[in-house]
């Protein structure tokens, strides 16, 4: 199995998001960066599949030069090689991102043979566009299913499962080569080891300059939503608050008849 996993560098936000004064992006001065959570699981899954079935793995990101950090994080847990589609700071919309990734996959496959499986995150944590993986799969003429939380590799196919809307799970079988959009919960990603980090540090990162274009949606600016002005009502302290809580449950009809 040859696997490509596409990841995105995103700010590691915590309690509160602060924007830059021009409202164009998150102020990342005091924040670290991380691989978007769904894609962390994609990286882990690619490593596990290659450990079990052999083959090789590659990680790709479209982002600024600093995104090399996330590519090395992926290589530190066992991804073999890395490709950086290095942007010049402009934001790429989903169509431009998908086009750049599609063209890179075609070039890579012409040189190294096909990727049996390409993994995307279901959506990037920051922009939340929910479409880049589908656009790439359609451009490549491959099948894709999103929201995947379980992958079983078979002979010439993969079985993938995701949560069904009414509860439980639904399963899909995809002939290879295929594309999957994965979700957190697929696995518990491992932490990189120190030798893993050292190995990753010495590896080459292949750099490619992607073509920028703009179709939309075209970002005008970002803002933090206003909090609903609800003032919290303290029902009490400790166990003594129980009757007030049960009054509340009664009011909304949660105690039954």
């Amino acid at each position: 199995m040859n696997i490509l996993v596409c990841v995105k560098r995103v700010p590691a936000t915590g309690g509160r998001i602060v924007l830059t004064p021009d409202g164009q992006e998150i102020d990342t001065r005091y924040l670290g960066s991380t691989i978007s959570p769904h894609e962390e699981c994609g990286v882990e899954e690619a490593v596990r599949i290659v450990e079990t079935h052999g083959g090789s793995s590659a990680v790709l990101t479209l982002g600024p030069a600093a995104a090399e950090e996330q590519l090395r994080d992926a290589m530190a847990i066992g991804i073999d090689r890395a490709i950086l589609l290095e942007t010049d700071g402009r934001e790429f919309d989903p169509i431009a991102t998908a086009a750049a990734i599609t063209s890179t996959i075609r070039d890579q496959e012409a040189g190294n043979g096909p990727f049996d499986l390409v993994l995307f995150g279901n959506e990037a944590a920051d922009t939340g566009d929910f479409q880049v993986g589908v656009r790439v799969a359609v451009a490549l003429g491959r099948t894709i299913v999103n929201g995947i939380k379980g992958i079983t590799v078979g002979d010439g196919s993969v079985t993938a499962r995701r949560e069904a809307s009414g509860g439980g799970w639904e399963t899909y079988a995809l002939p290879l080569p295929a594309v999957l959009g994965v979700k957190e919960g697929l696995n518990l990603p491992r932490y990189p080891s120190v030798p893993g980090r050292l190995r990753a540090k010495r590896k080459e990162v292949e750099r490619i300059a992607p073509a920028w274009s703009q179709t939309g949606p075209v970002k005008l600016g970002l803002r933090v939503p206003e909090q609903q002005g609800a003032q919290v009502e303290i029902l009490g302290r400790g166990p003594d608050a129980a009757p007030a809580v049960v009054d509340l449950l009664e009011r909304i009809g949660a105690l039954g008849s």
């Binding site: 809307s165 939309g216 608050a241 007030a244």
Partner: protein, 326 residues
């Protein structure tokens, strides 16, 4: 009459899905401003029956695609069915619910047509140029953007508008379509189902949800949440901390990378309130926070609070519930 606003309506068991009804409610004022009709598209078995019930949700015409090959959900084939109606109707906009399937089908349509798509839109203004407000970071941030294309594709963010009870309305015209669907679009489809655990109350359907975070302390300690939940028919979920530490299965996670819930009451126990969690629970009608720290960020979104240790407070609540239930 202007070009219609087309809405993809998901349905199961003879009923339209809640997020789809929200999408119809979202579409109505847009269509009104455009001087256009709202038209629904339903795909798969049972579509015609559900279509006939949509008059009370503002639908004038419902397009149905019922084809034996679409009995199992197949993302590419459902997109082809939607695409055929879109081609026939040349709408000004196509809206889909911001669900897994709605988003996936619309993304396929976007990819095949080369049209831009805005995901999780919370408001839209039509004009010379269309402006949208859409969610980033699952709604922790809003993006103002323009969306200009011959057909504007949008998913509607869950729970930003209420799905109203059906008003009285004339049954819509139901139009059947039988588009050509390529065999290649049917290769990937749902081939198996695993039923949910029996007796488990779904987090997205429960009237009351009890969530646990770091303050719960261990998987075993979730028993106090389960006990109260059992008494009042609530569902139990967890924060990302609780699922990442393995205290709860990931499928119970409430938050950006898990579920968005919208119960009557959400009881957040030992949850500090990171934004990634808040976006998953803020659609709750009321939030009750039980926390030892009165200054934790959860208090900023809570309607009610009990300052105290959940390990003492929850059993006291359970005892009081039992006393009143007799």
């Amino acid at each position: 009459m202007s070009a219609p606003v087309v809405v993809l309506v998901e349905h199961a068991g003879g009923e339209a899905d809640r997020l789809s009804l929200e999408a119809l409610a979202f579409a109505a004022p847009l269509a009104g401003r455009l001087g256009a009709d709202v038209e629904a598209v339903l795909v798969g078995p049972g579509s015609a029956g559900v279509a006939a019930s949509l008059g009370g949700h503002g639908v004038r015409t419902a397009h149905v695609v019922e084809d034996g090959r679409l009995d199992a959900y197949a993302p590419a084939a459902f997109a082809a069915a939607l695409g055929a109606v879109v081609e026939a109707r040349s709408p000004s906009a196509v809206l889909a619910p911001g669900s897994d399937r709605g988003t996936e089908v619309l993304a396929y349509l976007a990819a095949r047509t080369g049209l831009p798509m805005a995901a999780n839109v919370v408001s839209v203004e039509s004009g010379e140029s269309w402006s949208v407000v859409r969610q980033r970071w699952a709604g922790s941030l809003l993006e103002d953007a323009t969306l200009d294309a011959p057909i504007r594709l949008m998913t509607v963010a869950p729970h930003v508008v209420e799905a109203p009870e059906a008003a009285s309305g004339a049954a819509p015209d139901v139009v059947s379509h039988a588009p050509a669907i390529a065999e290649s679009d049917l290769v990937v489809r749902v081939t198996g189902h695993e039923a949910p655990e029996t007796g488990k109350i779904s987090l997205t359907d429960a009237k009351v949800v009890i969530g646990g975070g770091r303050g719960v302390g261990s998987a075993e300690n979730f028993a106090v949440l389960e006990k109260l939940a059992g008494l009042i028919g609530a569902a139990v979920g967890g924060s990302r901390v609780a699922t990442s530490l393995g205290w709860r299965p990931h499928s119970d996670q409430i938050g950006q990378t898990g579920l968005r819930i919208a119960p009557e009451l959400y009881i957040a126990c030992g949850i500090s309130g990171a934004i990634q969690h808040i976006v998953g629970c803020k659609a709750a009608k009321r939030i009750l926070a039980i926390n030892t720290d009165p200054d934790s960020p959860i208090m900023a979104v809570a309607d009610y609070a009990v300052i105290g240790d959940l390990h003492e407070v929850l059993p006291a609540i359970a005892a009081e519930v039992r006393r009143r239930q007799g």
